[in-house]
Every structure is written in C-alpha cells, then in structure tokens.
C-alpha cells in the first residue's frame, strides 16, 4: 500500500513539473539576454531587463492593456445584463413565442462560428465599425450560452418568492433585481468568469476587425509582435510580451481559482 502511494505521488509530481516548468522557464527567460535563452540552465547568468525595455519601445503595450480592459469590461457587463434579463423572461414569465426563442438560442450554440465569421465581418464593415472597439464589443454582447446558464439557475428559484414579490407590486424588472439576482450569485460569477477569460484571450476577431495599432487588444498586439518580426527576432522580448499578456488572467485565476475551475468545467455541459 505504502509503495503504491509513493508511486502516485511520483507521477503527480512529474505532472506538476510538466505543467509548471514551461511557465517558470518563461519567467526566467525574460530576464536573460537573447544568447542565453537557449541555455539549459534555468536561472539567468546576466540578469537584464532589456527585453521589457524592447517591448515598451516597439509596441504600445500599455494602450493594448487598456483596450483589452475596455473591451472585456463592456462585454462582460453586457453579457451578464442581457443574458440575465433574457434568461429571466425565458424561464419565469409566460408569453407567446417564448419556447421558439429558447429553441433558437440553443440553435445559435450549435452553429459553428465558421459559418457566421465572414458575414459578421461584412456587417461590421457596413456599420463602419472596423478599427473601432465597438466592433469587438457589439457582436458578442449577449450569448446563447449565458442565457442558458441563467435560465437553468433561475428555474431553481421557488415560485412562491416570485409570486409574493409580484403581489407586493414589483414590476418584472423589480422581481429580477430584488428577488432573482440576490439568489443567483453563483450563476452571475460563472457567466462573468467565462466571458472574461474568453474575451481576454480572444484574438481571431480582433485580428479581423482592428488594423490600427493604437486600437489593438493585448493578445492581438502580442501575437503580431511575435509573428510579424516586430521583436527583431528577439526571443526574450517575445516572451516578455507573452508574460505581460498572461499576468492579469493568471492573477485573477490564483485568487478565484475555485470559481474559475467550476465555471470552465461547466462549459463541458455545453455539448
């Protein structure tokens, strides 16, 4: 029994090394001069911050950070607001056409984005929203998945509570704000985390809609920096920009890890 336990720990620790080492390697490599990065030694011999200086010189990464905060902030807020009011109207109010709308919202999750990618871009061009942060926000400001999650959560709230609030003269919005929301914190947290992570990391859509550097989001800027040779092939600078991009999500993850794991695991339900 004892030897079995040891074996389990050995495999788990090897796993931990495999998942953690590339990140640790990245962190130390950003403090190495380029010639040293290929070195198998983990710690730098000559510590340097030249890679970070190079990143700041070449790309407006601070601007990229702000753009990403704006886009992610707006999208997350909108998805929570519109997802919850739609989820509420699709679960706790009876009206004609409700079930049809719910079926369509499920259908939107089944249609692969490869179909809508090009036509949505054309729509954005027609609205004159290319090179505009609104072009990144508007297409994803409400999602079928958030509606589904809110609807499932709202369905568990006892009808008596809702009836009581309605009898007290609450409007439907009032019921949502005073009764439903306080009881649905887990659903709100889940939707917020999923939307935050997905949008912070999104890079395909920004690459299509934004061409002007001062409007680029952080992942887009870092991706183009790595691919376009803006880094002058400096590996250290590429890694430094990648580290800056990873930091906000990693910090949020380490603080709220339980919620992160639970929320992202719930995407498994999608299928």
């Amino acid at each position: 029994m004892k030897t079995k336990k040891t074996g389990v720990y050995i495999v788990l620790i090897i796993g931990a090394l495999v998942f953690a080492y590339p990140f640790v390697w990245m962190i130390f490599s950003t403090f190495k001069p380029d010639g040293e990065i290929g070195n198998i030694r983990l710690l730098p011999v000559d510590w340097t911050i030249i890679n970070y200086q190079l990143v700041l010189d070449r790309i407006p990464i601070g601007k990229g950070f702000i753009n990403s905060v704006i886009v992610t902030g707006f999208v997350t807020t909108f998805v929570v607001i519109f997802g919850s009011i739609t989820g509420y109207s699709l679960s706790r109010i009876k009206w004609k056409g409700r079930d049809t709308l719910f079926s369509i919202s499920l259908l939107t999750m089944m249609v692969p984005f490869q179909i809508t990618l090009i036509p949505t871009y054309i729509l954005i061009v027609k609205f004159g929203l290319t090179d505009n942060l609104a072009g990144l926000i508007i297409p994803t400001m409400v999602t079928g998945f958030s509606i589904l999650l809110f609807r499932q959560s709202f369905l568990t709230i006892p009808q008596d509570l809702i009836d009581a609030a309605r009898l007290d003269g609450c409007s439907e919005l009032g019921v949502l704000m005073r009764v439903i929301f306080p009881l649905s914190k887990p659903a709100i947290v889940t939707v917020a985390i999923l939307t935050f992570v997905a949008n912070w990391n999104e890079v395909l859509w920004p690459l299509i809609v934004i061409r002007e550097q001062s409007l680029m989001t952080m992942p887009q800027m870092v991706a183009l920096f790595a691919v376009g040779g803006g880094a002058d092939a400096s590996v250290g600078a590429q890694l430094a920009s990648a580290l800056l991009l990873a930091m906000p999500v990693v910090i949020a993850y380490l603080i709220f890890q339980k919620y992160f794991i639970k929320s992202l695991a719930s995407t498994g339900l999608k299928s």
Binding site: Y9, I122, V203, Q257
Partner: protein
C-alpha cells in the same frame, strides 16, 4: 415605460434586446453566408453572381483537402492522448492524497492562459537547435526531433501542445465523472471476484462515457477552430502541413479578398463538423441504462 409594459407582455419586452441582436448577428449572417456561396465578392467592388463556381472550386481545391487532412491528423493524435493523460491524472487525484488542490490548480493553469502565450512559449521549446525539448532528448542520447520545421512533425507538435494546454479541463471533468460512480458497484464486483482491470473496463469506462463524449465533441470543435497556433508558429507551413480550417478561411478572406469563397469554405467546414460530431455520437456514445 409603464405604458409600454401594459401594451406588450413584459416577457417579450425583456427579450427584445436579445431578439434584435439575434436577427443582426445570427439570422442575417446565416442567410447572408448562403447568398455569398453564389457570389464572388471582394467587398470593394460590386458583388458578382457566379452560380455554383465556388462549390465547384471547393471540390477541386487540393489545399482545402489538405486542411481537412491536417485537422484529421490533429484529432487522431490529440483525442486519444488527451483521454489517456486526463484519465490517468483524474484517477490519481481521486486517491486519498495530500495537496490535491495544489496539483489541480497547477494542471488547470494552462487552460486559463491565452493560446498566444502558450504558442510563444512552445515555439521556443520546439526550436530545433537550442529548444529545451531537443536538449533534453540529447542528454538522454536520443536523436533530435524537427518539431516545427518538418512537414511530418509540425502538426503532431501542435497536437502535443494543444493537449498540454487543454488536458487540465478534462482532468477536472473526469474527476467529477469518477466521483459520481457509486462505490457499491465496485464492492459488488469485488465480491464477484473481479480484478482491477476488469473493474476498470466493465464499470469505470462505461460510467464515464458521458465525459468521454464531451472530450470528443469539444476536441472536434477545437480542432476545426485551430487558428492562432499555426498563425503565430508556422504560418500554416511547412508546405501547408499545419494549415488549419480557420487559417485557410482567414487567408482566403483577408489576404486574397475572396469573401464568397471564404464563406463557402466556412459552410463546408461547418457541415463536416456536424457530420463528424454526429458520427462520434453513434460510435462513442453508449446507452447507459438499457
């Protein structure tokens, strides 16, 4: 506002923003993508009706075929690797162990980090001359591997990286699946004189089938959505060996201005995703309660 709520059902009113969004960003794009199939268009000059030219072209397009083969190679390596690794760690983490939370946090870390970050890290680890992986191979006297520079190895390398990035999610899903198996089943099997392997094969595997299906579906969708990894690492090369479905759509639309053809590609890829997902439902999904 009050008037409005009297005139219309409040349920309908609360859904109106979503209905408008749905019409603009779902119904219109789906219809427009069908129109685009029959047209040639570069967005700048007027649209030109070409009949079935786009469809004919796709059927003759060797690069399109190549991108499907690439995705197939990716999936054939990615799915089994992911299932084996995720299941192994899920079983181990379900043992009575210390620091379970610590291990779980670490394994899950790559899931939340941007694909851009992971791609930039692995581009260096995969480097032929001074990458960490080849240096490790050298120290144990194995030949170096041309990870990203050979057309035979490039896609498998990306599949390996994608497994590293995603497997944490499936470890969590498999752990939940394993915990839902009633202990009595194992007890009963033990009394019947079964061995560990038999219990795994006849109880564990069928009971975690729903998680298995999730891994398949998400991997298939993920394989056909692959974009930033080849975009940053290889540009689709060498010799189109890492050209993914989405990268090909992207190139056709935004490098060559072939909106009609790109939309046609999108529809074909979506049809393939649909077919593959329903096929796997047939073969992978088993009825639990017959």
């Amino acid at each position: 506002m009050k008037e409005l709520f009297k005139k219309f059902n409040p349920g309908f009113l609360l859904s109106t923003p979503y209905i408008i969004h749905l019409m603009l960003f779902f119904i219109y794009p789906v219809i427009f993508s069908i129109i685009l199939i029959f047209n040639r268009w570069d967005i700048v000059t007027p649209m030109e009706f070409v009949g079935f030219k786009n469809v004919e072209r796709i059927l003759m397009d060797e690069v399109f075929l190549q991108s499907i083969i690439n995705t197939g190679i990716f999936l054939v390596l990615h799915i089994p690797l992911q299932i084996v690794v995720a299941l192994l760690f899920a079983v181990l983490l379900n043992e009575e162990i210390r620091a379970r939370g610590f291990f779980r946090t670490l394994y899950f870390l790559p899931v939340v980090v941007s694909g851009v970050v992971v791609t930039i890290i692995f581009q260096q680890l995969f480097s032929y001359d001074d990458g960490l992986l080849n240096q490790l191979l050298q120290t144990i006297n194995l030949p170096q591997i041309p990870w990203l520079v050979s057309s035979a190895w490039a896609m498998p390398s990306i599949a390996l990286m994608a497994t590293w990035k995603n497997v944490g999610l499936y470890i969590i899903l498999f752990m939940a699946g394993l915990q839902s198996i009633p202990e009595q089943l194992y007890e009963a099997a033990r009394l019947d004189g079964s061995n560990t392997w038999q219990r795994f094969y006849y109880i564990t595997l069928p009971m975690i089938n729903p998680t298995m299906v999730t891994v398949f579906v998400l991997s298939i969708i993920g394989g056909f959505s692959l974009f930033i990894e080849p975009y940053v690492m290889t540009g689709g090369g060498p010799m189109n060996s890492t050209l993914s479905a989405v990268l090909y759509i992207y190139n056709q639309a935004f490098n060559f201005g072939h909106m009609g053809y790109a939309a046609t590609l999108g529809l074909f890829f979506a049809a393939i995703i649909f077919t593959v997902v329903s096929l796997q439902r047939k073969f992978v999904e088993t009825e639990l309660y017959q």
